[in-house]
Amino acid sequence: MKLLYFAWLKTKTGVSEETVSPPEEVKTVADLLGWIKQRGPGFEDALADIEALRVAVNQEYAEMTDPVSAGDEVALFPPVTGG
């Protein structure tokens, strides 16, 4: 699974892109965020306020209950501010 971090999520985690293999219990977006969060203080800080995050799975906006699986590209970012 490919993880992407944008804006201040990238700054706080110190990572822009990584390939990970979460355990089998990680079945949804919410599971994945919980798993990422316990990987270290930078991740815990970045994911402290789940409400402030947006998640895209394979470049589509996703909900907490949406499924994730091994081949997915999952991106974590703050609410967008373009235009």
Binding site: Y61, A75, V80, G82, G83
Partner: protein, 154 residues
């Protein structure tokens, strides 16, 4: 048409190209977003506009398709820049051409409102206190919400 690019664009040229040769077009509406030197009362120097390559194009394409479905448009254009931008620089252009004035104006307004809340861009502003990620504004969400179609009782 959508374009995501680092380079600047020639506004006059883009708008001319949009309606060129199509004499069924009665109106062209456009909106250009520019980098302001003030944000929340603080002086801003340059900014870095980050985006999510791939998803950006996908979302902009979908936003444009939605406008083409809702209004009778002969042509439409979204250009969004990324990278380092200075105050006064052009950030974004949305433009629509239609036989009808109202369709051009409304769809142009829709495109920029919708884009503001859906297209994956983030602004990092240089301020006297260092780089500041710009927060999303509630007013942008409200502006986009106006365009959500109400279910019709069919």
């Amino acid at each position: 048409m959508i374009r995501v690019q680092r380079e600047d664009f020639d506004l006059g040229e883009e708008l001319r190209a949009l309606s060129a040769g199509d004499h069924g077009i009665g109106g062209v509406a456009s909106f250009v977003g520019l980098v302001r030197d003030m944000a929340g009362g603080e002086k801003v120097g340059a900014m870095m506009l980050e985006h999510y390559p791939g998803m950006t194009e996908k979302m902009l394409g979908r936003i444009e398709a939605e406008a083409l479905e809702r209004w009778p448009l002969n042509a439409s254009l979204i250009i969004h820049r990324y990278g380092r931008l200075e105050p006064g620089d052009q950030i974004v252009l949305v433009a629509t051409a239609s036989p009808h004035r109202e369709a051009a104006l409304e769809s142009c307004h829709f495109l920029i409102d919708w884009l503001k809340t859906k297209a994956p861009f983030w602004k990092l502003e240089d301020t006297p206190d260092g780089g500041q990620w710009v927060d999303a504004r509630d007013s942008d969400g409200d502006a986009a919400a106006r365009w959500i179609k109400q279910p019709t009782s069919e």
